[in-house]
Point group: C2
Chain length 376, copies 2
């Protein structure tokens, strides 16, 4: 294999593919990029065997002097970033020679045959969207997953489904829940649970302006095995988590609240930000909300660090005075996922879920469970 | 105690004092600021018992409603940073109440009597300089110390001396050495070894425009016990390391080189930067220089990662061809400490110290010992 390519272009392709490479690998080959040069250009692949990212450099942007493939250590990305202008990359025996002006780097390559095979994808079931739309969708729910999957492996993922002209995403870690839906012009593709971690990496490589194909690749029994996202720059695919996602539909219906209050999002966040400084010293991040027609007061307490208290004036208020204790980190995460500049809070009882809603987006629901506490 | 002060001004004072607070403390009182309010204004102190930083808010910038003192947890800095405009800080029993607009923070305070006593400083022996000058002096030598003091406690410091109208600083970790001198209008104050770590923190709080007093505080036997740096914003003082600093005077005389070469600093650094990417994978950071009249080639090799090679054209050359292996990290550290845009390298033999010199600053000497190796 021998190619000549602009170092910046190559660095971008490696950077994207590197997002799928795990930080620690038992097998050295998984610490590599697979670089394939052929008539279409150059394809760079990174994988942790569950998630794979392939990025492309089209033939018009690269000189293929000899087609072929190599498995290049991850460290090569750092090297390529230090270069300027065109670089030549050539395989010689078990090494690759990278030349840029007077710089010559000689790296060992791995056996490219050992690189995991990229899965075959059935790309018949997909819908088209933009990077901006897809990232917006993910942002509104992924935060609520439990990436460790500690209590239930399936909760390490977000459930994405396309049913009856709607694309929806929902995630929960049992203490909080987020769900959003949007109309789409695609009918019914089914659903799959995608690891929150993979969705996080995916969001880093998607650009707002990308035109994307998002789809499900199914087994012959009709189960979704992989999800994929394809642009002209890269293809991302990830195995989906197996098992049934909990049915959160009923939980996410907004109840008639005994107390409903609307506040300015900016004010609420600045208030929480201060209280959180102390609350985060305690592992429960506990804060207490006291809501009346005149003020929403927020009180936080670190175990040994002290307490903070701040209040804001509600924009509107309905129902009776209400007090509740909750996890301030979870509360802030939910508020950050809202688009609008006002936050509606709905309380339906002492130990009932707290709904954090966006008046400008009726299709999204964010829920945090309160702490059971005597103190409030 | 009760004061009212601009939150930004207070945050700055706390920030400076916090530089002396260790990250982990066994005694909770050392995790605190001592805040003293009196007729002159407010004094904020942080200490790790060896190094102490006191910063000031003058009486014209603070309302002292009740004089007194409190020991406030380090976390308060984070809290104050989140506030805007004036804050009121008031001691009530064992707590301090911080109020800013509608925000109210209630923190536990510690017994201020437990706070370590600030040492008495004899400030009769000092010289005046600017922040810019002092930082420049420190930068040229401190890097060569061994902050861990692993092999010899005294080498964790930099030796600063004022003798015969010269201020000098020298540091070594036995594998490298840096030394610089500058004329000063102060005659003879003696010398002291200051911890490199403390000098690092000090550099963070000095501004270029500061007018400084730098001096030694001596015991009745005439030994330097503390060094101090005083501006109108803060006073820094640090105990000095006890013991004799090795006599590096003879070592730092530039020899007649068998090979002397001058190269562009920018070119050399960019070259080293790339080679270091691979060389740093090996714990010795080993690189090999090959010097001829036509080129200086730099070759680096990671243990399993590959090797890099780059060459630059010397500006001038004297002597015979020369090859040497050395620590690239040490080499880069020395080059960064140079002011000029050209680097002069002097080699006087296979296993002899390598001199890294600045043509624009004859008073500074930087030395790295080569690796003994068969390979070169």
């Amino acid at each position: 294999m021998k190619i000549v390519v602009d170092s910046e272009l190559l660095a971008e392709a490696l950077e994207d593919a590197s997002k799928a490479i795990a930080s620690k690998n038992i097998m050295p080959i998984l610490d590599c990029f697979l670089i394939e040069a052929g008539v279409d250009g150059v394809k760079v692949t990174g994988t942790d065997t569950r998630t794979t990212i392939q990025s492309y450099i089209f033939s018009e942007h690269v000189q293929i002097e000899a087609p072929g493939q190599i498995a290049l250590p991850k460290l090569s990305l750092e090297v390529i970033k230090k270069l300027n202008g065109d670089v030549s990359i050539e395989k010689k025996g078990n090494n690759v020679i990278i030349i840029s002006r007077k710089k010559e780097i000689d790296m060992g390559v791995f056996d490219s045959e050992e690189f995991p095979r990229v899965p075959d994808i059935d790309d018949s079931e997909l819908f088209e969207t933009t990077g901006k739309e897809l990232k917006k969708l993910f942002k509104k729910a992924t935060y609520a997953a439990d990436p460790t999957g500690k209590n239930a492996a399936i909760l390490a993922g977000a459930h994405v489904y396309i049913n009856d002209g709607v694309i929806g995403i929902e995630a929960t870690d049992r203490h909080r829940l987020a769900k959003t839906e949007q109309p789409t012009d695609v009918g019914h593709l089914g659903g799959a649970v995608i690891e929150a971690k993979a969705l996080g990496e995916l969001q880093k490589i998607i650009l707002d302006k990308d035109n994307l194909e998002f789809g499900f690749s199914k087994s012959f029994t009709g189960d979704v095995v992989h999800v994929f996202v394809r642009t002209d720059r890269f293809t991302f695919y990830s195995r989906v988590l197996e098992g049934a996602f909990p049915d959160v539909g009923r939980m996410s219906i907004v109840p008639d609240g005994v107390t409903e209050v609307i506040v300015e999002k900016g004010e609420l966040m600045s208030c929480l930000d201060l209280v959180y400084t102390l609350a985060k010293e305690d592992k429960h991040n506990k804060i207490v909300l006291n809501i009346t027609a005149d003020e929403v007061s927020i009180r936080g307490q670190g175990r040994e660090t002290g307490k903070a208290n701040e209040s804001i004036v509600p924009v509107s208020f309905k129902g009776g005075n209400f007090a509740v204790a909750l996890n301030s980190k979870y509360f802030m995460d939910a508020i950050k996922a809202l688009d609008g500049d006002k936050v509606k809070l709905v309380f339906s009882g002492k130990v009932k879920p707290i709904f954090i809603l966006d008046e400008s987006d009726k299709k999204s629901v964010h829920i945090v469970l309160p702490y059971r506490t005597e103190e409030v």
